[in-house]
Symmetry: none
Subunit: 199 residues, 4 copies
């Protein structure tokens, strides 16, 4: 009997290697050779587990999103409405080294997605999920009377998500301008503006 390897596990190893390279040296540096070497295998292994390089990149992007989603799900369990929404937004913003790297990877993929239909499709599918989550939480918050309802909730969701991504980019590119404190303050402040004013 030959050594049987878990295909999914091997794929994960390679994808993790690709992620490490993209995070460390940028998406341009993620050549197949570099990925194989980083994973500790020879060139040829990639063939067994991936159709082609794009398959690796798409998997790396999906893996990144899955990690984020998993972490979020853990935090969100048992919460709802405005409280959960705050978790979602704060979690999607580079407030620590780990999330800063995730954001960097994401930005690299944005550029690629503009010229790669496969990557774009992944981005869209998974961005749609996040948007759906945010809209749902806004609706339950509205039903619970936690937030104002004088604005279209779809618009609110898009504004929140744009703010999250815009601030994330700026945090990475202009860290001295967007400190972690300001980043958090701006996110929380935006949520405050949604709250029903009581006076």
């Amino acid at each position: 009997m030959p050594k049987i390897v878990n295909h999914e596990e091997r794929r994960d190893e390679v994808v993790a290697a690709a992620r490490r390279i993209i995070l460390r040296d940028g998406i341009e540096a993620a050549t197949t050779r570099a990925i194989a070497k980083e994973a500790g295998y020879s060139n040829g292994v990639l063939t067994h587990y991936f159709a082609d390089k794009d398959d690796i990149l798409v998997s790396a992007l999906e893996s990144s999103h899955r990690r984020i989603a998993d972490r979020l799900a853990r935090k969100l369990s048992g919460r709802g409405g405005l409280e959960a929404l705050q978790e979602v937004l704060v979690d999607n913003v580079p407030l620590d080294a780990e999330r800063a790297m995730e954001t960097g990877l994401e930005i690299g993929f944005w550029g690629r997605s503009l010229t790669s239909p496969d990557l774009l499709e992944v981005q869209r599918r998974e961005a749609a999920e996040l948007r759906y989550l945010v809209v749902s939480l806004l609706q339950s918050a509205a039903e619970a009377g936690q937030i104002r309802t004088d604005e279209d909730l779809d618009d609110v969701a898009e504004r929140l998500l744009a703010l999250v991504d815009g601030l994330s980019v700026h945090r990475l590119l202009y860290p001295s301008r967007i400190t972690e404190e300001r980043l958090e303050r701006l996110i929380l402040g935006e949520l405050d503006r949604l709250r029903t004013q009581i006076h």
Copy 2:
């Protein structure tokens, strides 16, 4: 007798060619040969005016920013305060094909900047100028009593700029979600929220 050429002019020609290619076909398509050909020169000429390819790319980014700034300056002449601020924000958002391509170029450079100190430096320098302009306009609007002053104007500026970039990315990646109408509505709505409430 050597031919006398205007160095700066030649650089501009080449950089313009690079910009055209990046906008038209993406940053990946901007090979040195393609740039030289687009500029109407032989590939060897680049040597005389640029240290290397990166030098061209950095210059192309600067040039792109300069064009945006120039267009803005033209629109802004004679205006001030909130009115000018609205021009600045709306102008920085991909509301037509030309600006959509500029945004695409910008996003491509974001990814590169994260691993290229030279590009990052350019990004920072020029983003700082835009930020300075926004803060200045906010201040004059505040002094003119056009906007509320219960929030730190630096924070307001960062929020506006993040929103602009976040919405720009989303417009490119998720055009069916962020239509041009919604994009404009969200920008203008954000400005409305700054206005002094009159009741």
Copy 3:
């Protein structure tokens, strides 16, 4: 207790798979993995039954010749002389899809044989058998008074065999020039010219 397998049988299975691929997709498509997969085995099994890939190809060529010979033997049983000769020649020419594929395989091997001593040896050995058959049939036809004897029978055999191969190649490369009708007419016409003229 090791599994007992019939070596010759396994080889035949693999060779048949190789033949199927070459006929279907061309000799270029006959990679070791493709052959193993087509045979229903893992790629590693080839090691046990073949020295290397060339060993498989040589066997495939032999197998192809053997099949042709078998088909011929079946048709020939009970016949002799000119009648049998006609069967031999017509059978060796791509007058249907199956034989067209066999001819394609053969032509592919011709090119390889020119630089591979092993393949060349197989070609020679088996072409000699066919030539022997043709000469024998010519002799019996001559003895039976069916054909003219004013020409060296070896020469006649070579001319017939060359015509068969030449027309086969042309049928594959220039099908609109060499239609199936013309192909058959030319073969039969050549035999007619051998017949003793009766006047």
Copy 4:
């Protein structure tokens, strides 16, 4: 002023190198690296003169045909009818080392042509020219009363051309069977059979 090279000349150098390799080691051995090396250049040069490898191979095939055609034109000048036809056929058959190599190259290309539309198109175009020449010469010979006219001349042409290619292949694969003498005798004999019988 840079060194200006004659593009056509450089292409010819590379094509000649490709031909040498194909003749010496077979078409499989004609890798781009091997061709560049044989031509005395680096890998990268090929880019300047050829679109891709297929462009080189097609050019090599065309070049080979052109050489044959040129040699033929020289021999044919001033001749016509049966005499010229004999030249054509005898010239197309590997009666010396040079033509043996040309035949070898041709056989290698036959296999490729079966799976490469580009090569097939070249083969067809140029085979059509040869066929046209043979038919023309047959017609003028017929008009001059040199040959029998009881058979369709298109059929005669196809038989002659098939015989030429069939014998050529056999001469290369089975040289002991098809000696140069027999090769020539069979070609000339075939022409004799066309001659008007005088008795």
